[in-house]
Symmetry: C2
DNA sequence: TCAAAGTGCAACCATCGGTTGCACTTCAAG
DNA sequence: CTTGAAGTGCAACCGATGGTTGCACTTTGA
């Protein structure tokens, strides 16, 4: 149901900042990204490898540079999964809130069995 | 802006399943949770420690048991942050999509400087 | 041709999710 | 009261991962 690779790829805070930078700058290399992040170039390169492996970025060799760009469609998929999990829990929380209110309203005789699971 | 501790706490798939179980069962202990999860009691206990540290669950000692329950308000906060990040990226993606369409529509003379950043 | 820029590879360290093993409290039954 | 089982906590260990440093390799430009 949930693509756990995609989730964990987006789950890392450094990778989220990298995606942010790549989006606002319209692409970049490991070196340019590391200049704007509190980590070394090698760490950035590893993260780019992870993002590339799940298809969130694409790489284009240009001379001695390797330019990375965000795959917007794939990122849209990841964002959709994010919000999907959010809305699922939101619904569950609201359901529990409704049950709690119903119980507190005094209907405490046969509440068990009507809405379990 | 973003509470990174909350995010990483919810980021772990096992912790998400634990929150799911705690919500649907209305609480539980490390032992009862581990019986319904593919990990040992000790692993569950560690995760409960993490969730407790960020305030997503509360613990109530009862005899030799330690019963954990979800703090629904805090979980609601975490879910809100999740969906907030989602909508932020969604907006950014849509803005980029609009720019790309405008450029491709043929306005390729002075597109630079009108909507950068 | 040669130095600087950009990258890749390898070794190393700390943290984390997970495990096993053992000691400690609490409850309940004899 | 004693004793054994249930529930927990603590410590050591293992593998994966995010991060670092060091070095070798290609490409560019003077």
């Amino acid at each position: 149901m949930i693509d756990d690779d995609l989730w964990s790829a987006v789950g890392d805070p450094t990778r989220r900042r990298m995606l942010d930078l790549l989006l606002s700058d319209g692409g970049g290399t490991a070196t340019t990204l590391s200049e704007r992040l509190p980590v070394t170039r090698q760490a950035v390169a590893k993260h780019l490898g992870v993002l590339d492996r799940v298809g969130l970025v694409h790489v284009t060799p240009a001379g001695r540079e390797r330019r990375y760009e965000v795959d917007e469609a794939q990122l849209a998929r990841a964002v959709a999964q994010l919000t999907a999990v959010g809305t699922t829990w939101d619904a569950r929380l609201q359901r529990i809130k409704r049950i709690a209110e119903r119980i507190q309203r005094g209907t405490a005789d046969r509440e068990t069995g009507t809405d379990q699971r």
